[in-house]
Symmetry: D3
Subunit: 140 residues, 6 copies
């Protein structure tokens, strides 16, 4: 019996969308107010989707306490109340929410092996959400 | 790097479910109170899912300002505070939320080409949602 | 020990804002798209606030089963999937959400006596809500 | 035209996670506070996803009144304000939310034939959700 | 400048509504399914409302880190994933949500003095909420 | 007939909590991670509560189109996708959400006279909200 598990985490952070290889005018054209030099911010929601066989002894896909421990210590504390542009992850990359999904996906996939990572979804506002799916899956 | 983008829009409209080819009794049997002759209404939420490669220059799948401009001017202003039965889209079709998903899908697919349209989801109430998926995809 | 109880109900209805004593132009100026002749609609949420002493035997302010029975049979079934302009309540009154709050307040106050009615709140959309408070109370 | 329909139901129940084949210490290690002997509880949300061709006469995938009738009488009334450990379904199975998804999936699939069952999703809290998908579909 | 601060906490617990001084039949009549002998449960949300002058040095009414520390260690950990009927608070009292509001109010008022406690609100489900207000205030 | 109207607006912004009159250590002690030098951010929700007599001609407390026009042009566009520390309002004041409530209250009260301003509520996250009430009212 294969089941999918979705678990949500929240953090608040700021970012500025700006590509140093573009002119100031090109940056404003591309990013609008998101390019304002002092940044802006969001309450982000991260949803992790894992799949796996339900363990016949425990009745669970994976132990949520383990997933929570990993996510809080490795990712949520790192991002919460931070400026994403200052994060090592985004030293050479623009901290769009698309990029954030991918960074989180890679971290979870390489470091948390209790179940198969299927998707990382990040909601930036109540109107926007981005998702990175395991390669070769859904919609491809 | 392929990412999915979900963006939400809201409008308030009324509709009446009634098939002129059925008798009044058949209509009441089929649609219940949704067939009442004076109509009723909802706050609809539309969620557009697009997918695409993340542009290495901008870090984005598509520019949300462009998607918002298209959606507001072509669809949301049209539907907001209207009666769907009066809309040209539903001249020969019953304005169920199933039909609404398909109409929105076709409009976005034919007129907005910045990324690939994967799905249109319309929530009619907090308990109901309908989705039209790109043909040949998921669950088929 | 005096406690306040809030209970929510939902219904979907349509309405049109139009005052027959105003000209068509005045109606459009005043109500904008809400004046469109075919109406539009909403998912309404009604929140009833009652207060009272906690009964030492039951530990409750009032029995929710009784409140639910009253609300469903007398008000929610009446409004759900209806057009408010056709309702007897609004024969001589414009069915704004302000007026709806008052109508619901009067019905509950006169017919449900298990606890003291303090407030009726009606949410028209996720961005709008109106409240009618017991006379002489808060903010007056 | 194939459309997906999602419909939500809610119930409140208690459960205790405990495997009688494990020692008390193993149970505490595995389930933490969820193993406390007197149980705890949740407000569960069940989302049923059905797919099918839109009926050209009714404009609908399936009649929601029929789905609601089935779900309320066969499942929601059964679970609402109950202790899941006492339910026949969980006589020989630990009532994790993973197991609950599967039990609901099997009941709907075998007894409600108006459209194809694709998925059952159960939200245990605002931070957790589990999904059981039709075999051989998505992510497999 | 006097400001009100609202802060939310969540816990999941079970309870059974039963008055040992009433007969079994009276209990069933009064509490319905909430009287079932094995209990049921909820995801509770607690909202604490404090008021006070904004400190001219910090710009804050009170330090949220202190409030969170108090609430988590004294109340939320105590209730989370527990059975309220087993709690010392409810040894001689039926664990209705009305009673829970009052118990939380008294604990916060007597033990957390950084700002004035105005109200405790507990949401039992998305449709029900109860509130205990400081004596002599609003609606009295 | 006196009715209260609540209307919500949303914006995303960043801020840093730091008092230049305190030492770096005192700032960290007081504000924790909110003092991080590069700031962080939130999706803010502003709720405006107005009260007034319902106009017998229009059936409304005030015209929402007028309130929306005022709020969007004077406040929401100003704050959206900005850094609050750079705003003229906070040149000599720490941009806590307490201070933001008061600033918005003063702007609305002095510049929007169609109904009486009762309260400004700002939600900083789904767990925190602050309110500034008209002087001499509720809880004082």
């Amino acid at each position: 019996m294969n089941v999918h598990l979705n678990r949500r985490y929240r953090f608040s952070a700021s970012h500025r969308l700006h590509n140093p290889e573009l002119s100031d005018e090109e940056n404003r054209d591309c990013y609008g107010k998101c390019n304002n030099p002092h940044g802006h911010g969001h309450n982000y929601t991260v949803e992790i989707t894992l799949s796996g066989e339900v363990d016949p002894v425990t009745g669970m896909v994976c132990n949520l306490a383990d997933l929570d421990g990993f996510m809080q210590s490795k990712l949520i504390e790192r991002f919460h109340e931070s400026n994403l542009n200052q994060d090592e992850f985004f030293r050479n990359q623009i901290p769009t929410t698309e990029a954030l999904c991918r960074r989180i996906f890679d971290q979870v996939e390489h470091n948390f092996s209790d179940a198969k990572l299927e998707r990382v979804r990040v909601e930036e506002t109540s109107h926007n959400a981005f998702e990175y799916h395991r390669a070769g899956k859904r919609f491809q």
